[in-house]
């Protein structure tokens, strides 16, 4: 029997890489840490990251000259200037440390082989002599949107290897992990977060955990796209959802949703960008490499938003391959050869065999773009502390930190989980040191009672209402059909109307399972409203943003508009309010001026205000929107002008 109230120093919600790395930092500092997880930690979705983790180690010939500043440049350009440049700078600087720390934890990174190596680059087989003195250093492969080879990798199981290594540290440190539990509400007093209400997914019982610091590390919200996502079944945005419910903490840039170019058709299972990084091609129905004309410079290795749009355009132009599940394109990795596919891309080999029944050394792989990553999430300052609620932090994909802006580069999220896990973990530990645990239980018992009431309401509703699964499926169709890769005002309005109907349906839906215990139908029903509310913030945010930036592309406003939209969307929506409220804050301090990304369109609406006047307003305006003070002053880690020495 679980006690109704538990206490800990640091409560981490989510046991993926970001959450676990954060918990390690807190535990190593001497705090008691408890991790909640929907599933055993090693089943978290971090395990499915395949191709690589970006860090500018510069160990191989094609990575020569790389460094944190080049990585910073690529990241800001990749974000289409939507990123907070100071955060991108911190990230790029600390990524090499994070990769090396993983080696220390046991990750078997692929290593440089000194001497002659064969690679495929832009369709050509090339021979490159790797320096013998670099033999045995951590190797890099090419990925999209980067100037240098920078993705460190362990075959195509990089996330798996990283998660197992980090979880082994969690075990070593004796950190408590409560698997099969779900945080269903935050406990707070209006200005400070006091912990979370938790539902046990073994028994169905609710309890509360009171903590000095609470960390949301629940990953993305891809499952609001129904079956049209590469995400795991558990990526339902539960952490973002409970933050939104407070009405105090804003979510940032929810309309910034990434679509990965190559997921297996029709299952949506990810096929790593490393396939193209290692020399794979995209082909249309005539076996023509359409990306060579579309993006002569980067070809298949432009950023994901750009490649996905070209793929959909190619299909719309009638050059897709028809199938009973809709049209797709081909990924050709045959020329990489069986030996390479069964070592450096082993997981791709397995996935092709298990889920498409094909041998990728002999046959083409059917692929199409599918929802993949949530750039948006709980808005935090550079320490990872949430706007509006002291003691609440967010980290990893669940957060909008915000180093990805409107498009994340491949391999940058895996690196973010470790970099931000380390950094935010330190801040969390400091926070926990400076604060005595509050045990005023009133807020906790109220929150437990409210959570139990939600479950009771679902269980007691009867009649012939709609099924929760029909609502889920309808939501997926709306999101992929109308809030997808190409967006426009008319369809977005339709989407908003459609989601509103589903929100009403959700209030009338009826459960057919009345079983005691966890009750899988009830467990999903308790998340459904939150998913619909997140979807609404995505659709409304996309409708309001009348420009195109990164993955947010408006056919009716095809240009990036730095005059009016060089900002971040913030949305708040208290649980019982009928509609969300939107606000906009400056993106952050600008060091690298807005310009051309080096791929995609070079047309845009320029900003007319000076960068200095923009920068002067950032701290004041962000503070006005709820940003809490960071440990170091804003801008302290921006290496102003450093990019000028390397920009091309």
């Amino acid at each position: 029997m679980i006690a109704r109230l538990e206490t800990t120093d640091v409560l981490v919600i989510g046991a993926g890489l970001a959450g676990e790395r954060c918990a390690i930092e807190a535990a190593a500092a001497g705090h008691e840490a408890m991790i909640l997880s929907l599933v055993p930690p090693r089943r978290s979705h971090s395990c499915a990251a395949q191709g690589g983790m970006q860090a500018s180690l510069g160990n191989c010939v094609k990575a020569e000259g790389d460094g944190p500043i080049v990585h910073f440049l690529d990241t800001v350009r990749g974000s289409d200037w939507g990123a907070d440049q100071e955060v991108a700078s911190i990230f790029a600087e600390e990524a090499p440390v994070a990769v090396r720390e993983l080696a220390h934890f046991g990750v078997p990174w692929s290593r440089v082989r000194g001497g002659r190596n064969h690679y495929f680059i832009k369709g050509e087989e090339v021979e490159i002599e790797e320096a013998l003195e670099n033999d045995g250093l951590i190797g890099q492969r090419d990925f999209g949107g980067t100037a240098k080879w920078r993705a460190c990798y362990a075959a195509a199981g990089t996330g798996h290897a990283a998660l197992y290594a980090v979880d082994s540290e969690v075990v070593r440190l004796g950190v408590t992990v409560r698997d099969r539990t779900e945080a269903v509400a935050l406990i707070h007093d209006g200005s400070r977060c006091l912990g979370a209400v938790v539902r046990c997914l073994r028994t169905g019982r609710h309890f509360a955990v009171m903590a000095k610091a609470t960390v949301i590390a629940t990953g993305g919200y891809g499952r609001i796209y129904g079956q049209y996502t590469s995400n795991a079944t558990i990526n339902e945005g539960t952490g973002a959802s409970i933050a939104l419910d407070t009405g105090i903490v804003p979510l940032g840039n929810m309309e910034a949703v990434q679509f990965h170019p190559t997921t297996l058709s029709p299952s949506g299972i990810l096929v790593t960008e490393g396939c193209r990084g290692d020399g794979g091609f995209l082909l249309d129905k005539n076996l023509h490499r359409f990306m060579v004309e579309a993006e002569p410079k980067k070809q298949e290795l432009a950023s994901r938003d750009v490649v996905s749009r070209h793929m959909v355009q190619c299909i719309r132009d009638g050059n897709g391959i028809d199938s009973p599940y809709g049209p797709h394109l081909w990924l050709d990795i045959r020329h990489l050869g069986e030996e390479h596919l069964r070592t450096k891309l082993l997981e791709v080999w397995d996935i092709c065999r298990d889920f498409a029944g094909l041998n990728p050394a002999e046959k083409l792989v059917p692929v199409r773009p599918t929802q993949h990553y949530s750039m948006g999430g709980v808005r935090v300052n550079k320490d990872g502390e949430a706007y509006g609620l002291a003691g609440l932090f967010a980290v990893g994909e669940a957060a909008c930190w915000d180093m990805h802006g409107f498009n994340r580069l491949g391999g940058n999220s895996l690196a973010e989980t470790l970099v931000s896990g380390r950094l935010v973990g330190r801040r969390v530990a400091e926070h926990a040191s400076g604060f005595a645990l509050r045990t005023d239980t009133g807020h906790a018992f109220d929150a437990i009672a409210a959570a139990e009431q939600r479950a009771t309401d679902w269980m007691s509703r009867s009649g012939g209402g709609p099924s929760i699964y029909e609502i889920r499926d309808a939501l997926g169709e709306i999101m992929m059909g109308k809030v997808g890769i190409f967006r426009n005002g008319t369809e977005l309005q339709d989407a908003v109307t459609g989601i509103q109907v589903l929100l009403n349906d959700c209030d009338n839906a009826v459960l057919r399972c009345k079983d005691p215990g966890v009750n899988p139908e009830l467990a999903f029903a308790l998340r459904l409203k939150g998913m619909l509310r997140l979807a609404m913030t995505v659709a409304l945010g996309a409708e309001a943003r009348t420009e195109s930036r990164g993955a947010h592309f408006r056919s009716d406003f095809p240009l990036r508009n730095d005059q009016d939209w060089l900002n971040r969307t913030l949305v708040r929506w208290a649980e019982h309010d009928s509609a969300p409220s939107f606000a906009y804050e400056p993106t952050g301090l600008i060091d690298l001026p807005p310009g051309h990304r080096g791929y995609g369109s070079d047309e845009r609406i320029e900003m007319t205000a000076s960068i200095d006047s923009h920068n002067e307003s950032v701290l004041r305006e962000q503070t006005g929107h709820g940003r809490l003070e960071s440990a170091d002053p804003m801008g302290s880690r921006l290496r102003r002008g450093a990019w000028k020495s390397v920009a091309q």
């Binding site: 599933v39 055993p40 930690p41 090693r42 089943r43 978290s44 979705h45 395990c47 499915a48 990769v99 090396r100 720390e101 080696a103 220390h104 934890f105 046991g106 078997p108 990174w109 692929s110 290593r111 440089v112 045995g136 250093l137 951590i138 362990a154 075959a155 199981g157 798996h160 290897a161 082994s168 075990v171 070593r172 992990v177 073994r202 028994t203 795991a232 079944t233 558990i234 299952s267 299972i269 990810l270 009973p324 070592t343 082993l346 397995d350 065999r353 298990d354 889920f355 029944g357 094909l358 699964y469 459960l511 399972c513 079983d515 005691p516 215990g517 966890v518 009750n519 899988p520 139908e521």
Partner: protein
């Protein structure tokens, strides 16, 4: 492969184990469900279809649905398998699904693998036993790519529990390390970063719950969805455990 087989629509008959430990009225039994087979149907698709259209209380676990996370191990017609990558086309019309044995039952087809694997990790201290603290300023220690690949091969276990469920020894002694545990030990043993000596390893490897507890049926190697070389792992551990150092120590003692 399976999808090239004739897809004449079949009516599939699922016999599924049911028990809800949280329901005092529940007794272990099986329920029968019938659904129409569709092309490319996996057990992931089939079980969700049954839950969503016939019995919303049915418990099972899927997370990645791409044979990566190891959540969905279950007994499929008497054999442990990952349900997400099992295609109905590869099965007869009559399909029996039971939860994996050895692990504690959560409900129906869902079992608690997390507790077993954490316990195994703790008992074998499945982490790098290092040398010096991490130095954030230092270049990484070098490792040959061949060794990295060999360690990665051992690192590929997804902790699905199929090997444990298939193991005759683990079925009578749940603390037996079984394929996954022995593979984990070998993975750290071969890692040059791990400073444990053969003597440190001896108690873990050579006890009854270690490699000599194995009676050699090797079902683990047959059912491993990642095709890990568990036979070689077993041989490696036996060789190491009988290594010169132990023999010398035994003679000296």
């Amino acid at each position: 492969m399976s999808q090239e087989r004739s897809q004449a629509a079949r009516r599939l008959r699922f016999e599924i184990f049911r028990f809800n430990p949280e329901d005092e009225n529940s007794v272990p039994h099986t329920d029968v469900f019938e659904i129409d087979e569709t092309p490319f149907m996996s057990l992931y698709i089939a079980l969700n279809k049954i839950r969503e259209t016939q019995d919303p209380g049915l418990q099972f676990d899927f997370v990645c649905r791409s044979a990566t996370c190891g959540s969905c191990g279950m007994m499929v017609n008497g054999r442990p398998a990952l349900a997400c990558r099992t295609l109905t086309a590869d099965l007869p019309e009559s399909i029996q699904l039971y939860p994996l044995p050895v692990f504690k039952l959560v409900g129906d087809l869902s079992v608690d693998t997390g507790t077993w694997f954490r316990g195994m990790s703790e008992r074998t201290e499945a982490w790098i036993h290092e040398r010096a603290a991490f130095d954030p300023e230092a270049e990484e220690e070098r490792m040959s790519d061949d060794i990295a690949e060999a360690i990665y091969e051992g690192d590929r276990c997804i902790e699905c529990g199929c090997c444990v469920a298939s193991c005759g020894v683990a079925n009578v002694d749940a603390d037996f390390l079984a394929g996954a545990g022995l593979n984990r030990v070998a993975r750290f043993m071969m890692d040059p970063r791990d400073q444990r000596s053969d003597a440190d390893w001896f108690d873990i490897v050579a006890g009854e719950q270690g490699v000599f507890g194995c009676v050699g049926m090797m079902a683990c190697a047959d059912v491993c969805p990642k095709e890990l070389p568990l036979l070689e792992v077993n041989a490696y551990l036996r060789r190491r455990a009988l290594g010169a150092r132990f023999l010398k120590r035994d003679r000296g003692g």
